[in-house]
Amino acid sequence: MAAAFGRFVSTLAATLLGLLAVTFVIGRVIPIDPVLAIVGDRAPAQVYARVRAELGIDLPLWEQFWIYCTKALSGDFGTSVLTTNPVLVDIARYFPATIELATLGTLVGTLVGIPLGVYAAVRAGSLGDQIVRVLGLVGYSVPIFWLGLMGLLLFYANLDWVAGPGRLDVAYDYYVTPVTGMLLVDSLMQGQTEVFWNAVSHIVLPVALLGYFSLAYIARMTRSFMLNELSQEYVVTARVKGLSEARVIWGHALRNAAVPLVTVVVLSYATLLEGSVLTETVFAWPGLGTYITSALQSADMNAVLGGTLVIGTTFVCLNVLSDLLYRLIDPRTRR
C-alpha cells in the first residue's frame, strides 16, 4: 500500500514537473509579448520597460523557471494578468463550472453509451447496430462547436425548449452564493429551486452535446469489448448451462468487459474536463477551458501554468482512480 502510494506520488511529481517545464518553455517562446497584455498598445516606452522588469521576464529562462517552481511549491501560483486575482482563486472559481459540465456529460455518455454499445454488440450486423455505429461515427467526427451552434439554433432559437448561452438568465444572477461553485448543487443547497431549474435549462444543451460526444466513444468501445467477450468460451458454457440470455449478457459478458470499460469512461471524463474548450466558447460557459484559452492568447503565463497543473493533476488522479476501480471490479488484478 505504502509502495503504491509512493508510486502515485512520484508519478504525479514527475508528470507535473514535465508538464510545467514544457508549458513554461512554450509560454516563453511563443511570439506574444506578455507586457502588452498589461500596458496595452499605446503605453510609453518607460512604462513598458518597468512592467517588463516587474514581470521578471528580463531574467534568464532557467532563473524564471526556478523562481516559478519554488513559489509554486509553497502554493503561490502567482497572479493572473487578465483577472488580477491569484491564479488559485481563479481556478477555484472556474474549475467547478467545468466539472459540473464534464461530470454530467460523462454521466449521460455512460448511461446511454453502455446500453447502446451492448445492444450493438448483441445484434452485431443488424440495422440497429448500423445505426449505433453511424451515431458513434458522427459524434466522433463532427466538430463539436458546429454541433453546439446547430443545437442552439434548433433547440434554443427555433423550438424554445432550452435556455441560451451562459449558466443562468440574467434575472437569476446573484441569487445564489457560490459554495461549491457548481450552480446546480449550490442552488439546491440554498433552496433556490427556481434558480436550479433555470440553471438546468441552461446546462441541458451543452451536457447533451458533451454527453453525445462521450457516448460516441463509450458506445464504440463497449461494442468492441462486448464482441470480444461474447465470442469467449465461458459465454458458450453459460448458455449451455441454460442461463437466460439477459443473464449471460449483462451478468457475465458485461461484467468482464467492465474492467477495460472503466478506463474508457475515466479517460472520456478526463477528455471532457480538459477538452471542452470549444463547447465552453459556444455556450459562453465560464469554465477552466475558456480561462486557459484566453490566458494563452494574452500570454498570461501564470494563469496558463496554473490551469495546466490543475488539469495535469486531475489527469493523474483519474488514472489512479481507474487503477483502483480496476482492482475493485476484478479482484485478480489486486495481486
Partner: protein, 531 residues
C-alpha cells in the same frame, strides 16, 4: 434490472423537459443587458484604464473635471469643475470645483479629491499617465505643480503655454477621472495609493457605480444613489462577455439581451430586418490603416509608398466588408477633430500605380509579407488589399496571428506591412499628429515609440510642426497647421489610411435613449430606459 433503470431514466428526463418548458426570453425591466467582448479588461483603476471596454465603463461610472458634448465635440464644459481661468502667461489653469456634490460613498467632492486624482495618476505612472504628464509633470514635481489653493479651488501649472483646448481635451480622458480620496486612502497598502484595491473596486461619483467585475464573464453596474445629476432610470446595467458574435445575435433576437455590441456586417443586415431590433450607430475616432516598414528597402522607396495608395479599392471595401462598420477616410485625423481633412484623394488606379512602380525600378512588382490579426473586418480588408496589390504585381503573403502576436512583431519593427487600427487617446488633434507624424529618435531603443517610429519613418521636419502646433493658441491657425500636416502625411508617409470606424450596436426596440458617442468613453448608459 438495467432495463428498468433505463425506463426510469427516460421518464425522469421527460419530466425534466416538461418542467423546463420554454426559456424565459426577456431581461428584467429595470436592467439593461449588453453582450460584448470584454476580455480586454485588466483593471478598473482610472489611473490605469486604457482599453476600449474599461474606458466605456469608466465613462459611465466616474466623473471627470471636464466633459464635452457628444453631438458637438468642440463644446467643452465643466463636470466636476464649475469653471476655470487661464493665467496671462498661459502656463497655469485655475479650476473651481462645484460645491455640494458627493461621491457614491457619500463623501463630498472637493478640490482635494481632484488634486489627489491627478497627482495619483502621475505618481502611479501607468499606461495612460502620459496624457497628463506631457504638460511637464513628473513624479518629483507634481505636488508643486498641481496644488490645492482652497476647499474648492486648485491650480494646474504647465511647463509651456500649450493651446488651452489641447490641455482641456486631455483632462476629459479617463485618466483624469476624479476618485474619492478618503475612500481610496482607507484602502492604501504599503504606499500604493490604493492601487491594488482600486484595480477591482470602485471609488467614483458617476451615475452608475461598479458593483462587480468577473473577468471574462460580466461587469455589473448599479445606479448610484448619491449621484448629483439626474438619476438613471434603470437600476442595473450588465455587460456580459459573449465572445461569439453569432451567439450575440441569437441572444438579441431571443430577447435574452437588450444590446449586441459586436455584430458583423451580415449579422447587422440580418437583425435590421427584425422589427424588434433597431440600430444605434456613431462615427468613432478609430482608423483602419496599413503601414509599410521603412526598414524594408523596397517599401522605403517614395514611389512604392505612393503606388500602394493607388492600389486599394477603398469604395468597394467600404460597400462590402466595411458596410455599416465604417466609411472611406484617408487622413490621420478622424472626421470631427479640429482641422480634420475630409477629402479622399486616392482611389484604385492600377495603371498609375504600375507607372510609379516602374519609375522605382520595379516594373514586375515584388513580394512582401503582411501581418494580419485574425479577426474581422481586418482579415477581410487584408485579403481585399492583397487582391488589388496583385494587379500591379505586388505579391502579398498574409501572416495571420493573434492580436497580441501581430502587435508584438509590429512593436519590434520586424514586420514588412502591418494592418491594423488606431484610436485617438483624447479628442485633441495632437494625439494622432504625434503618433503618425512625429518620430524624434529612430533608433531601436528610442524612448518615444510612435507609429512613425514603428515603421522606421524619419520625420525631422514634420516633428517640428507637431511640436509647434500644440503651442498655437489661435484655434483657426492651429487647425490650418494640422490640415497641412495631414496633407503632407497623406502624400509622403508609409501609412495608407483607409477607413474611419462606425460603431454599430443592435438594440431591442423597447430600449429608449441608447446612443453611442464619438469616443469609447461616451457610450453613456445613464439616459437609457425601457418601455
Amino acid at each position: 434490472m438495467l432495463m428498468r433503470s433505463v425506463r426510469h431514466f427516460v421518464s425522469a428526463a421527460a419530466v425534466c423537459a416538461a418542467l423546463i418548458g420554454p426559456a424565459a426570453a426577456a431581461t428584467p425591466a429595470d436592467t439593461l443587458v449588453e453582450a460584448w467582448q470584454i476580455d480586454d479588461i485588466i483593471s478598473l483603476d482610472p489611473a490605469e484604464i486604457f482599453e476600449i471596454s474599461t474606458t466605456e465603463i469608466a465613462g459611465n461610472t466616474y466623473e471627470r473635471l471636464i466633459g464635452y458634448d457628444i453631438h458637438d465635440v468642440s463644446k467643452v464644459f465643466g463636470v466636476v469643475a464649475e469653471d476655470w481661468t487661464v493665467s496671462e502667461d498661459g502656463k497655469t489653469i485655475t479650476f473651481k470645483i462645484r460645491e455640494g456634490r458627493k461621491f457614491a460613498s457619500g463623501n463630498p467632492i472637493t478640490a482635494a479629491d481632484a488634486v489627489y486624482s491627478l497627482q495619483r495618476a502621475i505618481i502611479l505612472d501607468k499606461s495612460p499617465a502620459f496624457i497628463v504628464s506631457q504638460f511637464g509633470l513628473t513624479k518629483d514635481n507634481v505636488k508643486d505643480k498641481i496644488k490645492q489653493t482652497g476647499d474648492y479651488t486648485f491650480t494646474f501649472e504647465m511647463d509651456k503655454a500649450y493651446a488651452p483646448s489641447f490641455v482641456l481635451y486631455c483632462l476629459t480622458s479617463s485618466v483624469a477621472s476624479v476618485v474619492d480620496k478618503k475612500l481610496v486612502e482607507e484602502h492604501e497598502a504599503n504606499g500604493d495609493l490604493g492601487y491594488e484595491w482600486l484595480k477591482t473596486h470602485y471609488a467614483g461619483s458617476g451615475p452608475y457605480s461598479i458593483r462587480d467585475w468577473r473577468a471574462n464573464e460580466a461587469v455589473v453596474l448599479e445606479r448610484n444613489p448619491n449621484y448629483s445629476g439626474t438619476a438613471a432610470p434603470l437600476a442595473r446595467v450588465i455587460y456580459r462577455h459573449v465572445p461569439e458574435t453569432a451567439t450575440q445575435r441569437l441572444l438579441l433576437e431571443k430577447g435574452d439581451i437588450d444590446v449586441a455590441r459586436n455584430l458583423g456586417p451580415e449579422q447587422i443586415a440580418a437583425v435590421s430586418a427584425n422589427p424588434d431590433v433597431k440600430l444605434a450607430q456613431a462615427a468613432k475616432g478609430t482608423l483602419y490603416y496599413f503601414s509599410l516598414n521603412q526598414k524594408n528597402p523596397t517599401l522605403a522607396k517614395p514611389e512604392v509608398r505612393e503606388a500602394m495608395k493607388y492600389l486599394v479599392d477603398y469604395q468597394a471595401i467600404a460597400d462590402t466588408i466595411m458596410k455599416n462598420l465604417g466609411e472611406v477616410h484617408q487622413a490621420f485625423l478622424p472626421k470631427g477633430f479640429l482641422g480634420a481633412v475630409n477629402d479622399n484623394p486616392y482611389s484604385l488606379d492600377v495603371e498609375k500605380a504600375k507607372a510609379l512602380l516602374a519609375k522605382a525600378g520595379l516594373p514586375d512588382g515584388f513580394t512582401v509579407t503582411m501581418d494580419v490579426r485574425s479577426t474581422q473586418p481586418i482579415t477581410g480588408i487584408a485579403e481585399a488589399v492583397q487582391g488589388t496589390l496583385a494587379k500591379a504585381g505586388i505579391k502579398v503573403e498574409i501572416i495571420p496571428g493573434d492580436g497580441k502576436q501581430t502587435l508584438t512583431k509590429y512593436r519590434a519593427r520586424t514586420h514588412d506591412i502591418y494592418i491594423g487600427v488606431w484610436g485617438p487617446d483624447y479628442q485633441d488633434p495632437h494625439t494622432n499628429a504625434q503618433t503618425f507624424a512625429s518620430n524624434p529618435d529612430n533608433k531601436d531603443d528610442a524612448a518615444s515609440k510612435t507609429l512613425a517610429w514603428r515603421n522606421a519613418w524619419e520625420t525631422p521636419e514634420l516633428g517640428k510642426q507637431v511640436d509647434a502646433a500644440i503651442l498655437e493658441r489661435d484655434g483657426a491657425k492651429r487647425a490650418a497647421l494640422y490640415e497641412a500636416m495631414q496633407k503632407e502625411v497623406m502624400a509622403t508617409s508609409p501609412f495608407v489610411v483607409m477607413f474611419q470606424q462606425t460603431e454599430v450596436a443592435a438594440v431591442r426596440a423597447n430600449v429608449k435613449g441608447f446612443e453611442l458617442g464619438p469616443s469609447f468613453d461616451n457610450n453613456f448608459v445613464a439616459p437609457v430606459s425601457k418601455e
